[in-house]
Structure formats: C-alpha cells, structure tokens
Assembly symmetry: C2
Homo-oligomer: 136 residues x 2
Amino acid sequence: MEPSHTTMTDPADETGPPAFDHPCPIRDVLDRIGDQWSLLILGALAPRTLRFNELSRAIGDISRQMLSRTLKRLEADGFVQRTLYPEVPPRVEYTLTALGHSFLVPMQQLVYWADAHHEDICRSRRAARALDAGDH
Amino acid sequence: MEPSHTTMTDPADETGPPAFDHPCPIRDVLDRIGDQWSLLILGALAPRTLRFNELSRAIGDISRQMLSRTLKRLEADGFVQRTLYPEVPPRVEYTLTALGHSFLVPMQQLVYWADAHHEDICRSRRAARALDAGDH
DNA sequence: CAGAATCCTTGAAGATACTG
DNA sequence: CAGTATCTTCAAGGATTCTG
C-alpha cells in the first residue's frame, strides 16, 4: 500500500485550485469502480463497441438515468470514448479508450482473486452469522 | 472480465434470486473495498498487528463508530482476525488473516495502476470540464 | 434513439454521548 | 481501553416524465 498513501500529503503540487481533484490516486480509482455500474459498463465494452441501448440491454437492470450518468463520468475520466454520428435517428457509440483497456488488466487480477476466494468469504460469513445468532 | 461478468448477462439463468448471498463474486469484493475505510484498514494492518486505538490513530480521521463497524465486517468476511485478551483494561488486537494478505496482492496491482495513471485521469477531467464550461 | 430534468427513497457515514 | 447507542445528514441510485 505504499505509493498512494505516502504521496497524498505532498505539499509541492500547489499548482491549481484545490478542493476538487482528489488528492489520493487510489481513492480516485476506487470511487470510480466502487459504484454500482462503472465496472459493469467497462466489462461490457471490453470486447466490443456498443451503442447506448445495446449497453443498456447488455447490462440489463440499469436505468437509463444511471447508464447516462455513469457513462459521462467514465468519459470525463478518459476510460470511455463517446462518438456521436449525426444521423436521424441519432447513433452514439461507446468504446473503451487505451486507458480503459489498461485499467482492466489489474482489474482482471482482482476478478480472478474474487472468483478464487468467494467461497472462503461466504463460508466465513456463515460462521460469523452462526456465532452471532448463538451469543445474544 | 471473463469469469464474473459474462455469466451475468446470460439470459438463461433465471433460476430465481436467492437474495441472501451475493450472486456475483466480484460484486462482493467491490462492496467491501468500495467503502471509504476497508482498504485503509487493510493497508494499515498489512505490515503489523494493531490494537483498536492504534488503528484509529494510524488512519487518523476515522470515527470510532466506523472503525468498529468496518472491522466487524472485515472480520466476518475473514480478512481480519480479532483477538481479545481478557485483561483489565481490555486489550484487543487486529491482524490480517491469510485471506486478507492474499487479497492485498491483486489490490497492490490496482494501486500501482492508479499511481501510474492518476495524471492521465486528472488531465482528462480538466479537459472535460473545459469543454463543459464552453458549450452551455 | 439517446438522452435530460425532476422528484423521491434509502443506506452510508458523521457527530455525539454513554458503558463494561 | 474498546467499544455501543442514537440521531442526523447527505449523496447514490431509482422511478418517472419529457425532448431533439
């Protein structure tokens, strides 16, 4: 856990207005992937470019509202590129940027870990619940 | 994104929502690390065992409330072990389990990525804000 | 088709105070 | 020392409606 936390108090980068860019890199990334939808969207876009409604169907239970919002953030952060084709009816395509793809590399490792250890976690939870139920 | 996500768009898996243990391993893990404190706690415990108040001081701006809650969840999920020494005054030590340590391995990769690309993200954000300010 | 605008609910987190 | 108990706030996310 070294790199991110030791640098977060770096007093030398006072180049701009504070209070809106996050001081801690990993926090920034976690805020992005911590939400309900970002990772699902990135995963859906990983193999191929998709249009708005294709993305909506691919994910299934996401509201248009949240899909729109989340895509905007991902676009603003440079993970996703949005391309509007000025036709009628309008067509908009979303595709991963190089940054977006590169992000999925370490993320994939985490997915592997999660798959490998999910059972351990569930077992631990059941044990905890059993204890909790027994002692009150 | 193979193992976890390709299966969740599968239209054929309507076997009924079990509704108690999370169906998606990665979601489970993300829920844990997505919150404000879990990762900070794991990071603090990585190099050494700590007592409750040591942990509190190590993290700094966490309330006792949240420290207690988060530790309980981490303990229930098997990331952290809690040991109570029945002395007066009481002493409680928290330490990472093998599962907790193994989790930090892929997590570390994500931290590296975040450090390496934080500037890209910030730059992208600034550009997005500039565009946004210009077009309305 | 691809969103934006609006309103509302809920859970996460903070503040504060108390306890074995 | 190591917590728990309440109360409150706040923002993420959902539902619904409207539009170029």
